[in-house]
């Protein structure tokens, strides 16, 4: 323990400045109200204040900042998507991630690792080839690699995966990265706060006031706020907010679970994904293996975790890495994934004027945090969907024009 830390511990008052202000009562009116102080909501607030000069903003959070999926994901950042809309969007996000440490003045532990999506059969390899070609066409560094190259990069992996799922190739994506997710929420919160944005924690939205198809205000557990502009960035709680707005959507909610091992010496540099074995895994800076799998198989709106999840995922991990048999699992948890039929988000304008949606983030939202903030802020400031989110608009289902991104999902959900 450092002397400085000891001094802070013994001090009767907190000698360090707070990361951001704890604003008092809600005001009667804000220019923009953002529901949800996760990465997306805070990044939207920050971009509105910084780029568009809109600073009379309240961000409302029913728990504490980053308590939802921002703090529950497995922190993987990549842009090796399948559709041109997706690749452009996530590639812009990767570019923003790279400058984010400096921009927010916080160490996000952004770490470029390389990302292997393993193929165990011809069908997966075909999708990998498809993704690689779309990526290359749009200037994104992805290529298909064979078993020899994979074995060289990952000598500790059983290339036959227990004998029942031999690896026949992989999609390799060099820019694949991980970052410290809590710091993302804290960094955006501080940056937004310094520009005058108010972040109200423990403030739950209880209703939306809509008159003549226009948003007029937000009811909360701490009183009513009048506003002409509301952004909903609440991931798994989106259907509840939409219900308050009298809207239905294609979004359906399933829990997504994850777990971490005890810390190990560094042995796994790249991020490994196997769609067939339903595994994605990376090793954090402090040595824990962060592991995730597919969605829970039924709709559920509670972040409970299950023994079956740990048993199944551990079994698949051992297919790939048998030497981990003695390693212990430290923690497990779950988040509520707001899934869409085409595995692309739903962003921007809605049928209610002044009510904007940043939703449908399912299992792929963390990596989009910076670009979601940029594009949602641009959309709110201009009243028109930002060009980068044109493929993710609310009405695409009515037009039967889906943005089919399922082939780029980490695992077969």
């Amino acid at each position: 323990m450092s002397w400085r830390l000891l001094k802070i511990g013994l001090s009767p008052r907190h000698p360090e400045p707070r990361f951001f202000r704890q604003p008092g009562a809600l005001r009667d009116h804000y220019d923009v109200v953002i529901i949800g102080a996760g990465g997306h909501g805070l990044a939207t607030a920050y971009n509105l204040a910084r780029t568009h000069g809109i600073r009379n903003i309240a961000v409302l959070e029913k728990g504490y900042i980053g308590s939802g999926n921002t703090g529950r994901n497995t922190t993987i950042i990549r842009s090796n998507y399948l559709t041109p809309e997706g690749v452009r969007f996530y590639d812009r996000s990767v570019a923003l991630w790279k400058g984010l440490n400096d921009e927010l003045g916080i160490n996000l532990f952004y770490s470029t690792r390389g990302h292997y999506t393993l193929a165990h059969n011809d069908a997966t390899l075909r999708t990998a080839r498809w993704r690689a070609e779309v990526n290359k066409h749009l200037g994104v560094d992805s290529r298909v690699v064979g078993p020899e190259e994979i074995a060289r990069a990952l000598p500790m992996m059983d290339m036959s995966c227990g004998g029942h799922a031999p690896i026949v190739g992989a999609l390799y994506h060099a820019p694949g990265a991980v970052a410290r997710h809590d710091a993302v929420a804290w960094g955006y919160a501080r940056a937004a706060d310094r520009l005058g944005v108010e972040i109200h924690q423990n403030t739950e939205v209880t209703g939306l006031a809509i008159e003549g198809g226009r948003i007029r205000g937000v009811g909360t557990t701490r009183g009513f706020i009048s506003t002409d502009c509301v952004v909903s960035a609440v991931a798994g709680y989106t259907p509840r907010i939409l219900k308050m707005a009298g809207l239905t959507s294609p979004i359906y909610v399933h829990p997504l679970q994850a777990m971490v091992s005890e810390p190990l010496k560094p042995w796994l540099d790249p991020i490994i994904v196997s769609g067939s074995l339903h595994v994605y895994v990376s090793q954090t800076a402090r040595g824990e293996l962060v592991m995730g799998a597919s969605l829970d198989p039924r709709e559920l709106h509670t972040a409970r975790s299950s023994r079956e999840f740990v048993t199944n995922l551990a079994g698949h991990m051992l297919d790939m890495f048998p030497f981990l048999a003695g390693v212990k699992i430290n923690r497990q948890w779950a988040g509520l994934a707001d899934m869409t039929p085409d595995f692309a988000p739903i962003m921007g304008l809605t049928p209610v004027d002044g009510f904007y949606l940043d939703a449908g983030w399912g299992t792929w939202g963390f990596k989009a945090t910076p670009v979601a903030g940029e594009t949602m802020a641009g959309t709110v400031a201009t009243g028109r969907n930002h060009p980068l989110i044109a493929g993710f608009d609310w009405w695409r289902f009515d037009r039967f024009e889906l943005t089919g991104e399922k082939g780029a999902a980490a695992v077969g959900h």
């Binding site: 509840r240 509670t302 039929p341």
Partner: protein, 89 residues
């Protein structure tokens, strides 16, 4: 272990079952307009609540309906599809 009541096989482990989604009435494909068809194909009652759902007991290949609270995961009853009682929508 999560157990699910099957009208045919009794109480069985959840892992033996496949979830088939909410029971929904299909509009007549021959006469429905595009907007209502899109609503039926894509939209869901996404908010939590008590929902009537299709479930299949996979080992016996048996489909049935089940009422479940999607906030708590508590099963309120299960029936052969033709015997399910009416419920307020």
């Amino acid at each position: 272990m999560k157990m699910i009541p099957c009208p045919l096989n009794g109480l069985r482990p959840a892992e033996e079952f496949a979830y088939g989604g909410e029971v929904r009435a299909m509009p007549d494909p021959a006469s429905v307009d595009d907007a209502r068809w899109a609503q039926y194909v894509f939209h869901r009652s996404g908010a939590p609540g008590v929902k009537r759902e299709w479930w299949c007991h996979v080992p016996s290949g048996y489909w049935f309906v089940l009422d479940r609270d999607t906030t708590t995961d508590v099963v309120l009853g299960s029936w052969p599809a033709q015997d399910a009682p009416e419920r307020a929508q």
